[in-house]
């Protein structure tokens, strides 16, 4: 049996195949304007990798904001439950999952292997991947480039909570001739502050793991650890935590 987890987020669509014991395949596609089209491309890609989604030996759970567009899924589950499952599997213990996604940030507590509570950001993109993407764009780089710049900078405080206002704040910093790396450091710090505030509001009484697109950046993770005064772990499959949780749920439900 193969268990497929598909996590269609606002920016990236993550797919992962679990054979009941281990992860056997994983890939990421950008989310296009149509989640339905993204789902169709995932199906095709799986087929190219020799996984036939329509076969009775393959069970699929879809998650993420585009979950309802995956019409071939056997079950849909919210990204909160999936990230909880995935994070628990990656750390092999109860934990707090900090997921910084494209359009929202979630803090999830897992106790005895199940999600017990969660907190999400307001309907606002500050403190999410989207914020970093927009600001990186302003500095004519991408998110990875932004982190590289930030490592060598001294943060200039970005005080605006709103993405649109923060963008104008950055434009004025650029206009004032501040160093690009200092502005970059300020941008990252502003996201760290938002994420840390949400985590502290939720309460981080357990081991913490960072998941989502930013979990691969050791700089981001270190800054977050520093701010929280608590070690934040990551995992090479951190990006796939939601998809992994979905595949694990498929295995639980359909084995």
């Amino acid at each position: 049996m193969n268990y497929v987890g598909i996590d269609i987020g606002s920016t990236a669509a993550k797919t992962l195949v679990f054979d009941g014991e281990k992860v056997v395949a994983s890939f990421i596609l950008p989310t296009s304007w149509s989640s339905k089209e993204t789902a169709a491309r995932i199906k095709e890609q799986l087929y190219n990798l020799q996984y036939n989604i329509d076969s009775p030996d393959t069970k699929t759970v879809a998650t993420g904001y585009g979950r309802i567009s995956v019409d071939f899924a056997d079950k849909i589950v919210t990204e909160i439950t999936c990230h909880g499952k995935g994070g628990f599997y990656l750390l092999s213990q109860d934990c707090v999952i900090i997921d910084v996604g494209g359009q929202d940030t979630k803090i999830i507590s897992v106790e005895n292997g199940s999600v017990t509570r969660f907190l999400m950001n307001d309907k606002c993109s500050a403190g999410t991947g989207k914020f970093l993407e927009i600001m990186a764009n302003r500095l004519e780089t991408d998110v990875d480039g932004l982190f590289d710049l930030a490592q060598n900078g001294t943060p200039i405080p970005i005080s605006s909570m709103c993405t649109v206002f923060a963008e104008s704040e950055i434009i004025s910093h650029i206009g004032a001739g501040h160093a690009r790396c200092d502005i970059a450091a300020g941008i990252v710090e502003s996201v760290i502050n938002k994420v840390a505030l949400l985590a502290q509001r939720h309460g981080i009484d357990q081991k913490c793991i960072l998941t989502g697109g930013l979990s691969q950046s050791s700089y981001f993770r270190e800054q977050l650890s520093k701010k929280l005064r608590k070690k934040v772990y990551s995992h090479k499959l951190g990006k796939y935590a939601g998809a992994l949780g979905a595949a694990l749920l498929a295995a639980e439900k359909f084995h």
């Binding site: 904001y65 589950v77 919210t78 990204e79 909160i80 439950t81 929202d104 199940s114 999600v115 017990t116 509570r117 969660f118 999400m120 307001d122 309907k123």
Partner: protein
């Protein structure tokens, strides 16, 4: 599928039907008093021979009109209510001879100052808490002042006898509402939270209290029968208690959604629920003092401190066999937003139940996010 009564009218249908009834009443010479809150002593309005009508805005349509005068970052209920008044798009406001309001939250009391420029508005000075030395005394004198204002504005003479009759009638209505709410204690529940929320809000558009009582009693009997015939012994869906701000304006987005996603709302620990109905007005006292005492006991977050809310919640969680609590906070409602921390601690640490707090407004902008949060909460309840 929700178990709704035959010929069930949704909020906008019922609201529309009420227009004609009110117009007829007005033409027959009846006076109308527009009201906003459970703190309003409607007994005095009835004793004055007038009818009270609820004017709380539950639609986002008039909000742009309100935002010409009011700040954007304000409670949607306040903006919606004011928006209806200033845009002259609410027949109930139009038909009201006067407005009766109270100094409850900061947003409302300051809005009423502006509303007073559109129509005569009497604002009762509600104490900020019930423990102060003069709290009851001042609220009692506000009752007497209201009597004088109503006498003058409506050209009547309220007698103690009229007031006693009105108190008795309202107590009967309270009892009928309470019996209706308590259907939610049955497990599995035959009543939906969507129905409770709609019926309680649209009740305000029926102007004959006897008729209201009879409708509620009939429906309660029907629901008891439904329970015996169709529900008893069947498995129950997760049972949710709603708490926080008034939920009339998020009825579709939150209340209905919770039930469509697979849970039952069995009770409301907010002003749409039994909070104000459980507590009767003492019929054996000076009627003005009895009214002052009763209305000061309402446990809204505008009161400081407000321990009654926790007590009411503890009782409801047990009696309604609740599995999880969902709190609704309307944008910029400071008093409920601040109490949220204590409510969360109480529900999770003392009652050991899952708790979800949703902050929202009347727009549809966050429908997707709300949906994800509710779904995830129900997934927690299912494990």
């Amino acid at each position: 599928m929700l178990n709704l009564p035959e010929n069930f009218q949704n909020y906008s249908e019922a609201r529309q039907q009420g227009f004609l009834r009110l117009k007829e009443l007005k033409e027959s010479g009846k006076k109308v008093v527009g009201i906003f809150c459970t703190y309003t002593p409607t007994e005095l309005i009835l004793a004055a021979g007038a009818v009270p009508v609820g004017l709380c805005g539950v639609s986002d349509e008039p909000i742009p009109f309100a935002e010409k005068h009011l700040p954007k970052n304000l409670c949607p209920l306040i903006k919606s209510s004011y928006g209806f008044a200033i845009s002259d798009t609410c027949p109930y406001f139009y038909f009201s001879d006067m407005i009766l309001a109270e100094t409850t939250c900061d947003g409302k009391k300051k809005m009423y100052e502006l509303m007073g420029e559109i129509k005569y508005t009497h604002v009762m000075q509600l104490p900020q808490g019930r423990s102060g030395n003069l709290a009851l005394e001042s609220w009692y004198s506000e009752m007497l002042r209201l009597r004088d204002v109503l006498n003058q504005q409506l050209g009547v003479e309220i007698t103690d006898d009229d007031l006693r009759k009105a108190i008795h009638l309202k107590n009967r209505e309270r009892k009928a509402m309470l019996d209706y709410f308590e259907i939610g204690k049955l497990k599995p529940t035959p009543i939906s939270g969507y129905e409770i929320s709609t019926v309680i809000d649209t009740n305000s558009f029926i102007f004959d209290t006897e008729e209201k009582i009879s409708i509620l009693e009939k429906r309660t009997a029907q629901l008891r029968q439904d329970y015996e015939e169709k529900f008893k012994g069947k498995p129950s869906r997760p049972r949710i208690l709603i708490t926080g701000c008034p939920t009339g304006g998020v009825r579709e987005k939150i209340i209905r959604q919770i039930e469509e996603l697979g849970a039952d709302i069995v009770g409301f620990e907010n002003c749409c629920g039994p909070r104000a109905q459980k507590d009767m007005v003492d019929e054996n006292k000076d009627p003005y003092l009895a009214l002052a005492e009763k209305y000061l006991r309402i446990n809204c977050s505008v009161m400081s401190p407000n321990p009654g809310r926790i007590e009411a919640m503890a009782e409801m969680i047990d009696e309604y066999q609740v599995d999880g609590v969902i709190e609704v906070i309307l944008q910029a409602c400071h008093t409920f937003a601040i109490e949220s921390y204590r409510i969360k601690k109480f529900v999770t640490e003392e009652k050991h139940l899952p708790f979800l707090s949703l902050e929202t407004d009347y727009s549809q902008a966050d429908t997707g996010q709300i949906n994800t949060r509710i779904s995830a909460f129900l997934e927690i309840l299912a494990t």
